[in-house]
């Protein structure tokens, strides 16, 4: 309906305003410029960052990506372990956050009465308002101290069990991949919830009613009508959460444990992630190291942009399909 209207008004405007006054033209150009600003900023980010990192690329070659050795005194910069840390913490965050977020989104949209819907949405949105550095402060001074006992218990419980034994491995640290994963999970949950809610709400009412009329229980209605309908959009929502988790800096820098070269399944070991390394090592970096850190930022930029582009495309496509535009 809205699309039909907007075509109408676009045609109307074309007929009416073929030649506007000078004030009108000035306003239009300003608006166009502001729109172009997005292109300009993104273009500049790509160009200047790649430009600034060429020293590191040419100095390290492919070793930059394939080596886990990060040794500034020897001028050797391999970021593999940091890429691993970034992806691993983000995956832990998703493993925790996705079931929670989907559950909350489904409860808000399909089960809760109206007053509860609004309250729950406010509460979830509060999580998004708490600054990341505050989560970091809490993570490093409270969570990482108190959760160590739980880690020790997990580690000894799963000791010797095939795969789980190495995931919940020995020598648990308070500041570790898992602590970073927990903090990230809390931070990305409001994002995934709000996107999932939007996606879920596009499910046509009559399909849900049809399911209920056939005698489906509420859960069967969700499984049969809501989930198949919003699958694509939910995948997109989760991927946007993944992108956020990979780019999150300050909270992770404080709780991940800052250990170099660590690649392994043990979630209770300390490690490091790309943004955390950039934050921690920027201060005392010489020219080549700064270049290497910017090259790391370019890597992070490309990874998050890729995830975001795919996610946005997936969401747009599923929205288009459901809205029938």
């Amino acid at each position: 309906m809205s699309s039909a209207n907007s075509t109408d008004i676009a045609t109307l405007e074309r007929g009416l305003h073929a030649s506007g006054g000078s004030a009108d033209r000035a306003f239009r150009s300003t608006a166009y410029l502001a729109g172009g600003l997005v292109l300009l900023v993104l273009g500049l980010v790509t160009y200047t960052m790649v430009n600034r990192s060429t020293d590191a690329w040419s100095h390290m070659g492919l070793d930059f990506f394939t080596s886990r050795t990060w040794n500034p005194p020897e001028q050797f910069y391999g970021i593999l372990s940091y890429v691993f840390g970034t992806v691993y913490t983000a995956c832990i965050a998703l493993a925790i956050s996705v079931p929670l977020s989907l559950g909350i989104a489904l409860f808000i949209t399909q089960v809760a009465p109206r007053w509860l819907q609004r309250t729950m949405t406010y509460v979830i949105d509060l999580l998004a308002v708490v600054p990341s550095v505050v989560f970091g402060l809490w993570g490093v001074l409270v969570l990482s101290v108190h959760i160590k006992g739980f880690y020790k218990w997990m580690s000894s419980t799963f000791d010797g069990v095939p795969v789980l034994g190495s995931v919940f491995g020995p020598n648990p640290q308070g500041r570790s991949f898992f602590t970073a994963g927990i903090i990230l999970a809390v931070m990305i949950t409001p994002i995934i919830v709000s996107l999932s809610r939007e996606v879920i709400q596009t499910t046509p009412q009559n399909e849900k009613e049809a399911a209920l009329a056939l005698g489906a229980t509420r859960w069967e209605m969700i499984r049969g009508a809501v989930l198949p309908h919003s699958k694509g959009g939910l995948v997109g929502a989760v991927m946007l959460g993944l992108g956020r988790a990979m780019g999150e800096t300050i909270a992770v820098a404080l709780v991940i444990g800052s250990a170099t070269g660590r690649i392994g399944l043990n979630v209770f070991a300390g490690g490091n992630s790309m943004p955390a390394v950039i934050t921690a090592e920027w201060g005392e970096a010489d020219a080549l190291k700064k270049s290497a850190l910017i090259a790391m930022a370019v890597t992070l930029f490309v990874m998050t942009i890729l995830v975001n582009v795919i996610a946005t495309t997936v969401v747009n496509r599923s929205m288009k399909k459901t809205r029938g535009v």
């Binding site: 405007e13 729109g35 998004a128 009412q205 946007l240 800096t249 300050i250």
Partner: protein, 303 residues
């Protein structure tokens, strides 16, 4: 319309459907309970974080009341006691300057997207990129501003504002476009029928009627920007504790930067100040959010 099904008058049916408790309905109840449990689980960290921030931070902020806001940050880490004035000023000034940059440009960008570009190719590209730009990590924006600005002009508050503005811009564009979409085309048509030009229609009819939504979206963007830390490390520096009202030159400091610094300290003085700064920052962010909510609900009531 599940409500209607719930309210269906089962009392007067020949057969009482409610007595047939099959495993299917049990399963449904279990799943619904799990969903609610998910909400309870996520409440735990929320309450824990806010509870700790309030219990540890409110004490130091209000202990000797105005001192926290007026005194400077103690130079030595051994010193226990208040003083976060410079950081509070820094946060307000730097976020304010970022808002002055990002909000007008963002609103204009949204006007381009929804009033001029509409479904044209370039508008679609800009819309897509604005979406993608919201996902650019804040640390990347910080390094970007470092490369194009700080390298030439040195550490300054403006550098931080530029980085924050880059982060706010796509958020403002997206939320404003969403609000412009809610303005009915009838209003535009009525304005054209009176012979008003397009630019004037946008400025005097479309934007004012979308204003409450736009304001609330912008306030939320400001609340988020005030809490950003990573992009500030490269652009305003992390060392200074002095107040610097001149944002155009010299290192600066913000609440978020002070929290980050103090989070790594082991002595009680800095840790206390870290919690105090966290309390202040959360209070500022919540204040903006609450105002945004009030604006929205006042507007909805008026309708």
């Amino acid at each position: 319309m599940s409500v209607a099904v719930d309210q269906f008058d089962t009392e007067h049916l020949a057969i009482d459907l409610r007595t047939k408790r099959s495993w299917r309905s049990i399963k449904s109840h279990v799943m619904v309970s799990l969903m609610f449990l998910a909400f309870i689980v996520i409440l735990i960290p929320l309450i824990a974080v806010i509870g700790t921030v309030v219990s540890k931070g409110a004490g130091i902020v209000f202990r000797d009341f105005p001192a926290w806001f007026t005194k400077g940050i103690p130079g030595r880490t051994r010193v226990v006691g208040p003083g976060m004035g410079p950081a509070i000023i820094g946060t307000l000034v730097i976020t304010g300057a970022a808002s002055l940059l990002a909000i007008p440009l963002g609103i204009l960008g949204a006007v381009y997207l929804h009033e001029y570009g509409r479904q044209s190719k370039p508008a679609k590209v800009v819309r897509f990129l604005a979406n993608v730009m919201t996902g650019v990590p804040s640390i990347v924006m910080g390094l970007f501003v470092y490369v194009v600005f700080t390298l030439r002009f040195g550490l300054s508050g403006v550098g931080g504002s530029l980085a924050l503005a880059c982060l706010m811009l796509p958020v403002v564009i997206r939320s404003t476009e969403e609000m412009l979409r809610l303005v009915p085309d009838d209003l535009r048509e009525a304005s054209y029928a009176l012979g008003t030009r397009k630019g004037r229609t946008v400025l005097t009819i479309v934007l004012p009627s979308a204003l409450p939504g736009v304001v609330s979206g912008c306030l939320l963007a400001v609340a988020r920007a005030a809490g950003e830390t990573a992009p500030l490390l490269f652009t305003i520096g992390l060392i200074t504790k002095k107040a610097n009202l001149n944002i155009f030159s010299g290192a600066n400091t913000t609440l978020s930067a002070q929290i980050f610094r103090n989070a790594g300290e082991v002595l009680p003085g800095p840790q206390e100040r870290g919690w105090g700064a966290a309390f202040t920052l959360v209070a500022i962010a919540f204040l903006f959010t609450i105002i945004a909510r009030l604006v929205t609900s006042a507007y909805q009531k008026r309708r």
